[in-house]
Each structure stands twice: as C-alpha cells, then as structure tokens.
Subunit: 470 residues, 3 copies
Amino acid sequence: MTLQNDPDRLLPADPGTRDVARALYRSVEALPIISPHGHVDPTILVEDTPFANATELFLRHDHYVTRLLHAAGFSLADVGVPDLAGGGSVAAPRDAWRRFCEHWHLYAGTASGYWLSSILGEQFGVTEQPDGANADRLFDTIQDALQAPAFRPRALFDRFRIEVLATTDDPMDDLAAHAVLAADPTFSGRVLPTFRPDAYLDPAKAGWAERVASLAAWNGTPEGSYRGYLEALAGRRRHFIEHGAVSSDHGVPQPLTLELEETDAAALFDRALSGTADAADLERFAAHMLFESARMSVEDGLVMTVHPGVHRNHHAPTLARFGPDTGHDLPVRTDYVRPLRPLLERFGSAPGFNLVLFSVDETSYSREIAPLAGFYPSVFIGAPWWFLDAPDAVLRFRSAVTETAGFSRGSGFIDDTRAFLSIPARHDMSRRLDASFLARLVREGRIDEATAERIILDLVVDQPRRVFKL
Amino acid sequence: MTLQNDPDRLLPADPGTRDVARALYRSVEALPIISPHGHVDPTILVEDTPFANATELFLRHDHYVTRLLHAAGFSLADVGVPDLAGGGSVAAPRDAWRRFCEHWHLYAGTASGYWLSSILGEQFGVTEQPDGANADRLFDTIQDALQAPAFRPRALFDRFRIEVLATTDDPMDDLAAHAVLAADPTFSGRVLPTFRPDAYLDPAKAGWAERVASLAAWNGTPEGSYRGYLEALAGRRRHFIEHGAVSSDHGVPQPLTLELEETDAAALFDRALSGTADAADLERFAAHMLFESARMSVEDGLVMTVHPGVHRNHHAPTLARFGPDTGHDLPVRTDYVRPLRPLLERFGSAPGFNLVLFSVDETSYSREIAPLAGFYPSVFIGAPWWFLDAPDAVLRFRSAVTETAGFSRGSGFIDDTRAFLSIPARHDMSRRLDASFLARLVREGRIDEATAERIILDLVVDQPRRVFKL
Amino acid sequence: MTLQNDPDRLLPADPGTRDVARALYRSVEALPIISPHGHVDPTILVEDTPFANATELFLRHDHYVTRLLHAAGFSLADVGVPDLAGGGSVAAPRDAWRRFCEHWHLYAGTASGYWLSSILGEQFGVTEQPDGANADRLFDTIQDALQAPAFRPRALFDRFRIEVLATTDDPMDDLAAHAVLAADPTFSGRVLPTFRPDAYLDPAKAGWAERVASLAAWNGTPEGSYRGYLEALAGRRRHFIEHGAVSSDHGVPQPLTLELEETDAAALFDRALSGTADAADLERFAAHMLFESARMSVEDGLVMTVHPGVHRNHHAPTLARFGPDTGHDLPVRTDYVRPLRPLLERFGSAPGFNLVLFSVDETSYSREIAPLAGFYPSVFIGAPWWFLDAPDAVLRFRSAVTETAGFSRGSGFIDDTRAFLSIPARHDMSRRLDASFLARLVREGRIDEATAERIILDLVVDQPRRVFKL
C-alpha cells in the first residue's frame, strides 16, 4: 500500500477553511527550527558518525513506538530493547525492524504513525507502507541512505534548519560535548544544555544521598551542609549557564511547592540524609526545593520548566529488566493552582522570571494553566506534551487555552524528543495545526487573516525565542 | 411533525468528508451484531412471548428515559415504574405512554431520543414525532405490531443479525435459561452468561454475609472459611464457563486493587463477617478481591471487565420507593493508573489475560486509559459507557484515545443495554460514528481510505471477537 | 487595521451548516435580553449619569481585560486600577487606555477581544483596530459618544432591550436603588436584587463575626443566638423578595453540604463566634449553612444559584494592594455528585425548588452536572461561567451536557458581567453559538429544523423566565 504524505495533511476538511490554513502554513513552513527543550544526545553531533540502522533510529529508543508493540504482545527484547538485567537475547536490528513493519497497522491514527510516515516519506523517499514483505528492502534502503554524507547528524542539523537545539543534562555533567560544539569553527549550530536536577532535589529518588555527596565533593563543602548543598546547586547552574544553558527542567510527580525557613529545611535535609525522614518529610523537602529552584531562577535568569504529573515506571518487572523510559510512565491527575501558590505568591511577578508549565492532564489547560498564565507575568503555557503532542490533542489544547489567555502566553512548540530525525516532522506538524486552528478562527470571523499571519509567525519563531530568552 | 431518520444521519456535515464516511458506513452497515456485554433478560428468548406494550418496551425499564421525565417533574410511578415500597398506584401503560409522548421534546438532542427515533421509525414504521395527539394511536400501532410473529423476541434476534448476546448474571444463578437456549435445536443464537460478583466480593454491600453463606453452602465448606470462599467463587466461575461465559464483570465504586497475604485477607474476611470491620477494612478487602478476581481470570481465562466510578442510588427516597436502577446512579471522578498498579504489576503481562476498562469520567480516556492500554498487553479500552454512549461523546472518546493507542486497543462496541429493541439502533449508531471519525482522518490526510476500510471492519466484528475470545 | 464584525461571526464554517445557523440566529437576534444574574451596579441606572470615559467603561473594572495586561508585565496601577493600600500613583484614564490600545493584539482569539470588538464596532462605530497611533482618537470618540443622551445608562437599557436585569447584593443592603427604580414611573425596566450571603454564612471569611453581629442587631436578637441568626437571614431574604429578588447566590469554595442537628449547628456557631473553631469546624458549619440555604429556598421560593470552585485572591500581594476581583481568582477542580448529596436527598425533589449549578471545571459538565440535572427536578445546568463563557468553551459545554440532559435542563444564558455595555454583545454571542450548535445537529440529522427553531426560542427567552421564575 502506498505511503501517503498529502501536502495538505492535517489541514481542515472544509474547503474554505483549508484554503486559509494552507496560506498560513506556507508562510511559516520554511522557517528555522527552534527547539528549546528536548532529549537528543549531543555526542551524536560531536562525533558526527552515521546512524547505525533503522531500528537504532526509529525503534529502540522511541518508547512511543515500542510500547504499542509491547501492548501487541511482544517482549521489549523482541523489538530491540536491551535486556539490562536478565542478559536475555535481544532481537537483531533487522529482525526487530521486520516485526515493526509487520505491525505498521498498529500505528494508524497515532502521533507516532504520523511522524514515522513523514520521516520515511520525506527523509528517505519511501513510497510504500511498511509491511512484512518490504521490511528487509526498507531496512536496506534506510541503511544505504544513512551511509551518505547528507545523512550525517551535522548535515541533517543544517538541512533541518535547526537554529537552536537544547539537550537535557545531569547537573554534574561536565558538558564537554557542548563545549566541543561551541568551540568548533566548522559547526555553527547552537546546542545548549538544560539543567535537570530532579535526582538531586527529591530525596525520595534512588541515589539521592550519593548525588548530594557528589555535589558536596565538587563544592568542597561537607556532605551534611544544607547551605553547601544550595551553593553547589547554584554553582552547577552557573556552570550550565557558562555553557549556554537557558533553562532548568523539573520533572516532579506533582507541582508541590513550599517555603521553609532555612533551619527547618536544613533539619529535613539532615533527616533525609540520615534515612530518618518519613514520606511526608521527603515530600515537603522536595516541595521546598522546587520553591528554592524558582528563587535561583529569579537570581540567575534560567527559565524554569516544570513537567509534572507522570507516574514513572509503573510496571516494576519491566523497569527491573529494561530500565527506565521504556513505555510505562503514565499520566495522573495534576493540579497547579493550589500547589504552586507558595511559589507564585513569592516569585510570580518577579522581573525576568519565566516559568513554563507543562501538563499530561489536559483538563488542567482550561481550568488552571491558562488562567494562571493570563495573570502571572512569569507563567507560560507549555506546549502539549507527551501523549498530548498529537494532532487532535493539540487542537483541543489551543481551544482550551486561547479564549482565556490569547496567543501570547504560550511557550512556543516544544518537540521534547530523543529522536533526532523526527524533529522536522514534529515542528512541521505543529505549524500545520497552528495554521488549522487560526484558519478556523478566521473563517468564524473571530480574527482577520492579517492578524492570523502575524500570530503564526510569532508562535513559530518569536515566542520560543522570547520565552526561552534565546 | 415528521419523524425523520435521515439515511446520512450522524455523518459529518462537510460534503467531502460525508462522502467518505458514507462509503465506510455502507461497508459495515449490514454486518452481524456482536454484543459481548449487556443486560437483556435471557428468559425473553426462552419464552419467546410477545412484548407487552410500548411502555413495557420503551419506558418502564429504561432509566435513561424515565429519568428525564422525573426531572421534568413526574413521579416515577406516573411513568409506569412500580412503587415497590409504598404500594402506591402506578400509571397504566397507556397513560404512562401518553405522558411520554407529550414530553417527546425533552429528548431532542439526547442519545435516548436518537435511539427511540431509530426504533420507532425503522422497527415500527412510525413517521410522525410522538405527541399528545398521536400518543394513543402510536400505542395501538406498537401493540398491534408486537402481536405479529415477526416481533417475537427470537424473530427479532434473527432479524437483528445478532451473532452473540451476553447477559449479566448473579454468580449463584443456575443459568437454566442459558442451558435451555443452548440445548434448543430451533434456536441457533449464542446467548452467553456473564459472571457479575460485586455483591459477593464487596463486604460493604447489603446482604454480603448472606451471599457468602450461599457460596459456602453450595461449596460444602464452612461459612467462615476464606479458602472455601475463594474455592466457591472459582467453582461458580467454572459453572459459568461451562454455560458459555466469556467474561466476568466488576462494577466497583473505584478500581482499587490490593494484594494481601492470605492470612491478612482471611483476617479481614473474618472481621467483615463478624461485623467488626471498619470502613477502611471493607475497602481493603474489596480491593483485594478485585485483585483476586484478576488472578482467577488469569487462571480460567474469563475476560475481566471493570465498570467503575458510579455513585449508586444517590437519592435514598427514590431507592426506598422504586428500588435500584431508577435513574439516580451518577458518575464521579475516577482514577486508574495508581489504583490498578498492584493488579497490573502482577498480571498486566500475563498471557491470555484481558482486562477491559470502562469509564464514566471521560477525562480518564486520554490521561489514563489509553496510555495504560498502549503499554499493557492485557488492557483494552472499554467503549464509551452509560452517559458517554452518545454521538458527540463517542467522537470525543475516539479523539481522546486514538492518537495514543491507535485503533487496536479498543473493546469493540458494547451496547450494555436492557432494551432489547434498541440493540440494532445502538450498534448502527456506533458504526456511523466510527465511519465519521475515520472519514475525518482520511480527509485530513492522516490515514488512507483503504486503511480506514480495514479498520472499520476490524472495529465492528474482529475486535469484539478477539477481545472477548468469541 | 480594520476592525471587523462579520455579520456571520461565530457561525460554523461549513456553508450548509452556516445557512441553517444563520436562519436560527436571525429568528432570535432581536429578542429581549433577560439577565437573571450579573454584577452591574444599580446606582448607574438610578443616577443615569454618563459613563466617564473609555478606561472607566472597558478597562478598570474588567479584570478579564486588566489581567492580560498584568500578565504582559504591567502593574495594575499602570492600567488604571487604584492602588488601595500603597496609595501609589495610578495611570490617568487616557494613559491607561493608550496602554491597552498598544496591546490590543493580546486579546486576539479571547472572549474579551470578541466582546470588545463587538462593542467598539456596534455601539461606537469604530472601524479600526485599537493601536498606539489611534488610541487618543478612539478615547475622544468614545468620550464624545458618552456625552450624548443616547449613551446614558437608561437609554442604553432601552436600546439593549433589557427585560430583566438582576444585580448581586449584600444581605444587609437596604436596596434603596432598587426601590427607587421600581417606584420611578419614567423607568419601566425590571432591576432585581440578588441575595448573596457568603460573607454571612462562611465563618472562615474575614469579617464574619461582624456580619453576624449586624444581622443580630437588625433582628433584635442576641449576637450569640443561632436561632436568631437563622431568623435574621430569613428576614433579610424576605426583604430582598419584597424588592423583587428571585434568587440567592452562593459563591462557595466547594459545594459541600451537610445536615446538622440544630444543637450541633448552634454549638459550631458558638465556637466560630468565640474563635475556638478549627478549620474542619468552619468548613462543616459553612456546609451546613449551604444546606440551610436550600431549606430557606424551599420555604421562600428564591432560586438558589451556586458558583463554586474558585480559589479567590491567589496572589496575596495583589490583594493587599488592589483589593479583590483583580484578576487572580483561579478555578480549581470541583465535584458535585458527592458533596451535594445531603442537600439533594432532602430537597432534590421539593416542589418549586430550583438549584442552578455553575462550574469553572468543565470536566464536571458531562460527568456530574448534566447527570444530576437529568434526574433531579430541582437541578438546572448553569450556563458556562467565567473563563468558560467563550465561543469554543460554550460549544464544548453544549456538546457535554445535551446528550445526557437535552435542552430543557439549562439555566438559559447568564452574562454575569459588571460591564454594562457588554451585555448585548454577550447575549448576542450566546445566541450565535446556540444557533451554531443546533445547526450542526440539524445537518447531522439529529434534530429537524422546526425543532431547532423551537429550542432556540426556548433557550433565549422561555428558559431563563422559567428557571428564574420571572
């Protein structure tokens, strides 16, 4: 069966609305990509070695893709995910790819299916839908393409017109890859680190005490010193800023915040380190550290992004065998208005403070996030994230937030991807959907076409630059 | 006023999309009906006696219909519901029907209005909207039709092309009706019981201790034996399986699950029987028994369906006078990810285990149910249920789940009805809506038409067969 | 840039559906306005003095408008809101207006932007979008218009065809303004007070004890008498009824209700007055008083409206400086089914009792409010409120409630506005959206056009008259 990539895809069916949407989309189609939050590994750009094969590229690292094969009854090892614990056998890349192609139908109507179709068609010139019969041929086609200089990571970076690409990094990362790229006169792209301190801030996380110790060692302060701990965090943030970081990212279970007196915080820190803290203590300390992170952002200017509401590693047997990020992180109900109040009372109007709130609970968009962003100058509405980064979900999001907060309070599109090759397809999808949403408002007489043109330009390039201080 | 049943009803307004939708609908319109969960009384097929009259058929047993008349100010007795407690007078069928016809306008835009229009028009050839003037005539028209052999339950079963019809039954039911039908060489339909054990598993339910006693008596074990209780439940499940059952159904307040050691469970069982358990004990025991039900499903292969999140019998005075299922069961917020974790950690990947999650809180579709079903091979997304089994709600459901989980993780359509005559109208509605949703994706360039044809065929017949092991 | 007010604005883009919608809209476009709940100050009609200027009219009192300027980085004082506490300088009206015009683009796509466009275009004949260049000219144009007799409040009241306008008033208000208007032979409009007793019923509110004292003084009973307190509330309700009131309004944090024995309620009342009540006591007493308010409604016939789920005054520094109602009241999750059960068990079927449930948590519409209103004769679905009173949100609302509860269980449109000049634009918006929703159902073959015409007429005039007993 033919693999279609309709030039008008995702545009509204109504012919009059589609015409308006197409014109809006064309006006931003070719603009550079600004990607202020994502999970691409910077070493692929440092080393600039070819990607290995189709499975490495599309399958093994993309838990959106492997999870549906898992749901269809395959072990993750069958689709190329290494068995970390058991040391069991893992499917060879070509076998994993064949399995995927045989189950291409599982992806019909999904966001992953949409991206994969775009990438296969537009990057690799594939014109047939993957299936069991063509799997080997497609594997070879992709393999061949990947050997060409045009498919080396740096060449793709240029071809994709990426202006800025942010990575996500451990606070103790030396950021050597970023330094190499910045110093390389043959590479002109901007690749920025992002400070992601959850494992250092939440004492309920495994390995927290060891991480606190590493901070103390780096800072030359005693492990048990709460003040030294804060200094070290601030110091590592400076290190990130010196390497171009513009934001810190916080993946908290719920966006709880709490302002504690220093002595109370220090006492909780002691109890957490000594293992005598109870669950409520741990939660209070983590909430306080989210508050402290906002204080540091106000001081050092890093944009603060919060990705709450995910129950990580739901299926312990899969975690034990395959590690984290293997498809069983699941959304849960999330509130923002009450939990963020301590932080916003204190820093909500602080000059230069930018706080971007993401959600996987779409009920929060109209009820809490848009109303917050429509009052607090610091608060911006994070683009639809994770399972919500999909065509219908994005249109629901726009509908949910715009009437309350307009178009000026968004983060700009965030691809949040580990899959380097999916970046242009994701940004292109976002541009098509923004064009579709705006075209509907035009046709319903709610904005005029000139205004829609101004807005889509702002959404695509100016808004992410402004919100992320690029 | 004319009663319209537009042949294109429920198809999208945009002409291009409607053309695609119409073709998809036509391709499945005449396929057999598979109904793996519902509440039809099997004795109507055993006895095959004519339905009594229009009130008996459309009004008295259908709390979707009577509730809107109640909201309009009528007592349930005024619309034909027997006054169990007070023994007050109940409207004669013809009077109740007249009242309903006079208030036909209340149903405009509702799911009930849609079904009733379809049934009146397509089954009874009615061409005018019910009103006070034609009420008596319609009552007679329907009465006359019901006397005809073509309107006897078995004739309708054939005319409706019902391939499988599941009933919902008490665990101690002898299933004699099912046995008679299975043994009857003149009846070729498949009518299957469903094991519905809530009243035996949740010690907070009135009469639980008596039901435990009846299990013990049947099993020949002491009433106070927890192990005997488990054995008896497993035994009754076997009895159901021998009579064709393919699923057990669980109507729990919230989908809480808990794994207890046998001694702890037995201790709670004792306390519950002796009346010394507190509310937390009762909840823990019920959560444990939902977990145990999954274990039994893994062992005996019954598909497990869960219908949580309903506050039953909200209005105690109505319960006292008219009994349960009289229109005041009301949805409440429901979570799935956290409460089901114990069950899914243990059985989420168990071979052959199928767990179908229904919801009356539609926020759970995109946030929890689709993400769960997109990872766990056991989890399937239950079709929109109760108040959500309506045109717009079904399209919202498809939009909420498809981008995350695709089309392969659904249950297939479930009519869940007590109203035998509404079965074809309900399945037809679902087919029209699936066609509409798919046609939009086709027109937005997200799937091609051949794929849409394959999907709708799968949704209508293959998916329910697969998920319910038919 | 041109300020457009498309005559077909808000009607659906699909041409066939738009034709149906236009006809429906035309059929109700010119009908009188019934406004049974809002916040217009009645003294503007008593005094009938011209409005001061554009800032006074559109900006300073409208926290929907000022909040987006605040989010854009302005102090509220910069946009004309008086600095109550600090006594800091406040922008002159013309300067505030200029700031607003320079940021007109912030409102594109918002409900406020829609209303402001309608008002500027239709009331003031403005044909260009506000901007920095035309700000002064527009200020003058509006100023000039406001001096004309046709723009005096009473003239506008007639021009807007307002049949009924309800205000919202403190229980101890003498209602002199209402009395003056009622007695004035030159004013024929109906301006009704609304009893809003939150500050007298919820002991957690600042000043509660003083308000209880004022009730006692008025009633001539001891301050500590719970029975005297109830008598006084009933007495003030009678005072309101004598001045034309048809409803009492309850802005509670959550719709908790509780029936207490009189002795228990009196004991809580004592503890609350003496300052010895804890937070749980205060919440229980407030829940009991919501229950008592329903009892009083059953007795005296006032319609009971409930506006729950708002976290008031989220940003304490803004409250301290600018007072309440300054843009930082924020929605939170709200439940109805369980919290309202005590009230509904007791009064849900009481003859003549009307309870209108509003929500700022739109998830409650399909899950709880429509199901409640589809059973209890007393319960009506409040029109979309606050952030949800916007085009897309209204269509989502109709979609969420109609399939369960039909069209008969709504409150009719409620403008809930302080902005007198926005009243016609808001009602017009509602009529356009009702027409759009109904037109879609017509085109999808779900209702016929004659039924749609009947329904829209009912929604616009008969329903609010019926529900609010006008």
